[in-house]
Amino acid sequence: MSTRRRRPTAIVVLFSFLGAVLLAFVLVPVMALILGTSPGSVAEAFDEGVVRWSLWLTLYAALIATAIAFVLGVPLAYLLARRDFRGKALIEGLIDVPIVFPHTAAGVALLTVYGQDGILGRLLAPLGLTFTDSVPGIVVAMMFVSLPFLVDTAREAFALVDPRYEQVARTLGASPGVAFLRTTLPMARRGVLAGVVMMWARGISEFGAVVILAYNPKIVPVLVYERFEGFGLDAAKPVAVIIVLVALVVFVALRAFLGPRRVRSARPGAGRRAEP
């Protein structure tokens, strides 16, 4: 039996057009930035020690922030996915608060606590940890604004794994911890990993909170801003291109690594289909 594809209806044509407008809105500035900057100036900027060091600092600080959030956030994500308890909705809301905060306001809030006169700032100073104009400050700012991406994505990934897998594992002799490590975690690993990469990418691109808490040492977004303020658009463009390219590489790698399916729809627990 052969079937012919139906002709697209008017609504499909309309929706496609609206979507194309949105795609152009995203794509045009990105392409204008990349194509409107000479490769020579980008290579020149990349040769600068300051830029290279700034890039390294950005990636590294975002990685530490993600690692800390992973240890603290993934267990919380699991609890939120599996348990019902009083105040759960409140906790879920709190996790998402950084998304609705203006990030400069987040930076001010963090400075109040981690600054030289803040509670944690004073408490941790004897340990050699200062947060103003320091790498720990950058880490704290990045972590604060980007942790919802990890916790939310991991929670969704855990929720998609049927809890009965763990029950079966328990009847097969696994303790609760072992059951989690051998069933739910490996089944949710695509989603958790997607959360990790999204948080990392979001950390790399953070500006508002970092600039308030730790203007120095300069991460790439701060560097871009500084060059724009000090020397104008043409000076800012090469550095901007570098960070945009890095972000694109990370994102493309993520898509390739997690397969052709949508990042959020990795559902190992829901189907009986083998993973590719």
């Binding site: 079966v168 328990r170 009847t171 097969l172 002799g173 490590l181 051998r182 089944m187 189907g271 009986r272």
Partner: protein
């Protein structure tokens, strides 16, 4: 999936004997899964006690109870291959192996001879290297059974294990289940809504409905002598009525809807429920049948009634014949019998029925004018049970 929340079952007082194959029969939503999950320990009872081998199981975690659990939907671990799934209960150390198209995790114990033995037991020996995603429903359930059996559980809990399978696959797995039960001392608790499954497999069975137990006994007793209306209807009794019974000599006469009188060997009086299994009725065209000599038992007290066929439903190998006496009785006959008698709507027939097949029970149901059961109307979709289609 069974959900907790407002749902509650019990109190239940149920004893399963060591080594027996026990089937819990109940419609969807009657609490069967909750019952099994409580026995397995993944759900805690709100009250009461659960004894395993005479020991209070309250302080035993699921992993200490030595129970095997097989769900209706297999729940094979998708991140492991078939051997890895079966080996899961043997230990946590994993290695990687090429399976199907890619590198897949499997417990190191996958090479254990116990894994191959368990797979062979369920007829899954050929599947060990396969990924679970490519398995058919029947294969998945075989692997799930092997996975549960590899740890030699003392109690095997089966939650509608055959419900998603087609008829031939189901029969194949029924014989696997019988074989497992014959070869191992494992006690089995199997829940199902499928009647033939219960009669084929059970040593004893229990009927669960609305969160409570209605009857426990050998399948023959439950089917032939239902304790109440719920059991009578669940076990495929299409002829369930309310009646008034009185004793007459060594038998009982029960009046259904005034004019219809049936003789029963059950000793009861007053308001009763009446259940007649459709396969016990014999329908013959009036001009063909002569005298009462065709009754199965040949006893004088047996029933011989005249009526008119209102409907004949061809089920393939069998057929349902509805006869208005005026109370409507439904008979299950072979297709050949129907053809031989040329039974068709409008034909006047004799309905013959042994007194021992007229089962009486205490009526607790609602009062109904006319005495007929509420759904004694047309032949519906569920008329295909208990003997199925072709």
């Amino acid at each position: 999936m069974a959900q907790a929340g407002p749902f509650r079952i019990g109190p239940l007082d149920l004893e399963v004997r060591e080594g027996e194959y026990f089937v819990v029969l109940g419609p969807s939503g009657s609490g069967k899964t909750v019952l099994l999950e409580t026995i397995a320990g993944v759900r805690s009872p709100a009250g009461g006690r659960l004894l395993l081998d005479g020991r209070d199981a309250a302080e035993l975690s699921p992993e200490q109870r030595r129970v095997g659990f097989v769900y209706q939907d297999s729940l094979l671990f998708p991140n492991l291959d078939v051997a890895g799934n079966i080996a899961f209960g043997l230990g946590p150390v994993t290695t990687r192996a090429w399976v199907g198209a890619g590198l897949r995790r499997r417990p190191r114990a996958a090479g254990d001879p116990r894994v191959a033995a368990a797979a062979d037991l369920v007829g899954a020996g050929e599947l060990l290297q396969r990924a679970v995603g490519g398995l058919s429903g029947g294969e998945q359930q075989r692997v799930a059974l092997a996975r549960a059996m590899v740890t030699e559980p003392r109690l095997l809990l089966l939650d509608e294990p055959l419900a998603n399978l087609d008829q031939p696959t189901r029969e194949g797995l029924q014989s696997v289940l019988r074989q497992i039960h014959r070869r191992f001392p494992t006690t089995v608790v199997h829940v199902t809504h499928d009647l033939p499954e219960a009669t084929v497999l059970a040593d004893r069975c229990a009927v669960l409905g609305d969160g409570r137990l209605h009857q426990v006994g050998a399948p023959g007793d439950v089917f032939g002598r239902p304790a109440d209306e719920f059991v009578a209807r669940l076990t495929g009794g299409r002829n369930v009525f309310r009646g008034l019974a009185r004793r007459a000599g060594d038998h009982t006469i029960v009046e259904i809807d005034g004019p219809t009188r049936l003789v029963s060997t059950t000793a009861m009086t007053g308001r009763v429920g009446v259940s007649v299994r459709p396969e016990e009725l014999q329908v013959s065209a009036a001009e063909v049948s002569r005298g009462g000599d065709r009754c199965p038992t040949g006893r004088a007290a047996d029933n011989r009634l005249e009526g008119v066929v209102t409907e004949v439903l061809d089920l393939g190998a069998t057929a349902l014949v509805r006869v208005a006496l005026p109370v409507t009785l439904t008979a299950l006959m072979t297709r050949r019998q129907v053809a031989l008698q040329s039974l068709s709507p409008g034909l006047t027939v004799h309905v013959e029925l042994a007194a021992s097949a007229v089962h009486l029970f205490e009526w607790q149901g609602r009062e109904q004018p006319g005495g007929a059961a509420p759904d004694a109307g047309g032949i519906g979709a569920d008329d295909r049970s208990p003997f199925g289609g072709p």
